[in-house]
Each structure stands twice: as structure tokens, then as C-alpha cells.
Symmetry: C2
Subunit: 271 residues, 2 copies
Amino acid sequence: VTGVWIDGVPGRSIEVEDRALQYGDGLFETIAVEAGRPRYLARHLARLRDGARRLAIPLPPEALLREEIEGAAAAAGVVKLILSRGSGPRGYRPPEATPRRIVWALPAVSYPGDWREAGVVLRLCSLRLAVQPALAGLKHLNRLEQVLARAEWPGPIPQEGLLLDSEGHLVGGTQSNVFLRLDGELATPRIERAGVKGVLRGALLDAFAHAGLACHERDLSLAELGRCDAILLTNALIGVWPVREFAGRRLDSAPLAALARECLARAPALD
Amino acid sequence: VTGVWIDGVPGRSIEVEDRALQYGDGLFETIAVEAGRPRYLARHLARLRDGARRLAIPLPPEALLREEIEGAAAAAGVVKLILSRGSGPRGYRPPEATPRRIVWALPAVSYPGDWREAGVVLRLCSLRLAVQPALAGLKHLNRLEQVLARAEWPGPIPQEGLLLDSEGHLVGGTQSNVFLRLDGELATPRIERAGVKGVLRGALLDAFAHAGLACHERDLSLAELGRCDAILLTNALIGVWPVREFAGRRLDSAPLAALARECLARAPALD
């Protein structure tokens, strides 16, 4: 960690009355940095704004958030932001609190190059995600399901675990979204009942559309996953990873990953 | 607040790498204090032990937890304990961390006497709780559903909001468990899919059994709630509250509340 700023001031700790600590009452963003600049910042801020609205957390001025994130990015490989509802008395009722911003400048994460090129191994998690439309899509701080899912296997490989919701619909990985190709068509799960609407998921949907490729946001079942011929994993830090093996089955996803990266590179920037 | 101890040392803040802050990765207990002694401490510790086992958080020695809670209780009206998985690097995978204990000595909460005697008003929340057997029963730190539910109405009255799960089963209040009397029989929701297994819920189930009164843990629907003739709310701090009005309907729950308190007083103590 090269630095932490709490409400703009360098710091290392927060008071124990903070509701992020008490109840997971807040949101976060994990932002890739390229050449000292935060990537997809407009998309990260848009998701944060949507989350703040749905949780009724007053959003700090966007110019201030931009300034703090860009400042941290200048000397970081990754910037993480937590927006907590702030401190309050005991009890679930949201107080009239001042939200608290915690901004980290973190080192870059480096993954082996062949994960990106040749692909990764994907397993199926036994945990099923709960269906909660009130929270679906948000990158909120209630992450015990992801902690339990990631605890299902030790070590770095398989690189990711896939999660279904309790109704059997495909949601995504513990820390990534998933795209697949089935009968020549591209699809990614709707994120209306569980899961996080990843920033790279949004960027890739727009990039496919810009390239004239249809990619359907729809319900997807485990059976359909078993029939698909390519799977991609996406998140803001990893970018696009092809899946070379899922549940013991070999897949040739690398060409689709290369195409996805090409579409992303050609799409107009939002930032 | 009269005091906070972090791993046994007086403190006011925790480091920002703590996983309770990052992911809600931990558990808590809110313990009533009577004459300087924690009430139902054995039951609180049993629930904490169960939660630590299910989340694979190493439990600190129980004698140490007892000592710290009893120490805080000596000068408090309420003791709150958070057990966090501890600090770790970014990422959902649980690290080999040292769990962190945060113990608060808080002032007693006083409620108007007629809430306890004449009863309280209960409303029905529009939020539905997600079904997640992996977390049901635990007092974990992922509490955004309760925050959203409690935000549905302002002010102290109605005193509580009732929650169904997404399958339509009755779960309990935002911060309480619920008992009802229907066709002369006592019942309380099973807590296997959503909700918290309250300490007073457990104590009251045991107390009814000790008194020879059957109380069934079972699935309960909103229709059954509409037909019942008495509703009780329980938690460790409020004890037993009769509901005098639910969704516009008057109820005479006070005699059942008095009976419940009588059974609790006569039941053998666990502590």
C-alpha cells in the first residue's frame, strides 16, 4: 500500500462507529490504473452514483471523487475507493450522517501472461447466490457470499469459481462477470437478481454493440453453459480472460478473448 | 459510549485493512446488561461459536471473550461485540488472519414502558429478504437488507417492521424475532433460509418447553399472520414486546407477553 486517504486526509484507521464496519453499509470500487490514470473512471463513478442512489447514501461531489481517485492513481497500480454511509449510533436505521470516503493507492496486480493468452481454469462453486433485486448489480460491502464462495478452494488455481443463483441461473464468477458463446451467439447473464454489474462488463457490452456484434443480456442456465464453446471472464483489473477449462471440459476461448479486446480497443472511450 | 476495547486494549479506531470494513466479514453480538452482568452470555457465545465455525473464523478463547464482555458490562447498559476475520490483503479469499475483537460498553437503551406493557405497532416491510441458507441464523455483519428495510419508514413508530423472505415465508422483524398464537397454538418461523436466530428467541423456545407449552418452529405465511390473535416481538435488548396493532388490525397480545415473561423468569438459567 502506498497510501490511504480518509476524507482526503492521509490516514490508516477509521473510527469504530463507522457503518461500513458495523453493517457493511456502503459501496466500493476497484479501479485499474494505466500510466498513472484511472481506467474507466466515468463508468466506476456511474456505478457508484447508482449505488448511492439506491442505498440513499448522499454522494460526495463527483469532482471531489475524481480528484481524489486521480491523485491516488498517479502513484498506484490500483485505486480502491470505499464510500461508507459514515458514523452513526447503534441500530439499522440510517442516520443523517456524513458519508466517509476511503481511497487506497495500491500496487498493480500482475498475473501470469498465459492466463490472459492461453486462458484460465474455471470451477463451479457449490454455494448458490441469494436472489435480492434490491441489491443486485451494486458493488456494495456485503460480500460474505463471495468470501464463502472463494473459500471453497485453496490456492490460485482454478483461477475463478462460477456462481449460480438459488433459482439456478448463471450469475458470474466470485470476482468477475462472464460472457459465453453459444450456437454462434454471444450472451452474458442479466444482473437483476444477484451479482455485480462489472465496469468491464458494461464496457464490453458497449464495445460489442459498437462493433455491430449482438450480445444478449439474458437468463442463462448451467445446461447452456455446458453447451457453449467459449467462455470469457471480465473485471476491471484482469480485463478479459479466456477460459480454457470449465468443469473438466476443454474450451478454445482465446480467439473470442482476442476479439473482445479488439472491440474494447476500438470502442469510443467514455472517460 | 463509555468505552471501546480492541483486542483488549482501549481504542477508538481500527485499521482500514480490516475485513469487517472491507467485506462485512465478521459477526456481532449485542448483549443486554442487568446489574452489571451480561444477560444470556452463554447463548450469545454459543451463537458466536456457531457463526465462527460456519464462516471458518478462528474463535478466540471463550474465557477471554467472557472476561472482556464481563469487564465491559460492569460499567455499561449494553455490550456490543464485533468479531472480525481480521486484516488482510485485497481480495475475497479468506487470509490466514488473526481475528479482531471489538468490544463496546454502551449506555442502556430505555424504551417507553407502555411499549412493553400495552404493546407496539408493527408494519409490513415491502423489502423481501433473500434466501441464503449458508448465512441464515447468523448475526453476521452483512446487514444492508436490514438497513434498507428500516429505512422504509422514518421515526420510532411503528416500532418494528416485519419481513417476509422472497418465497413469501415470514422471517421476523428488522431487529427482532416474532412469535404468534394461531388457533391456540404458539409458533415462530424456522430460521433456516433467512433471518437471525435471536438469543431471546432461543431462550423463549426453551422457556415455553420448560413450562410444558408447545411452540412450533415452522413455515408461516402472511395469511396465517393475518389470522393469528397475538404477536410477540423478541430480542436481547427489548425482551418481549406484545404487538397491539399489525397492518391496521388490533391485537390483544399483552397477556401472551406476560405469560412469555413468566416462562422466561421460571426457566433454568443457562449462564
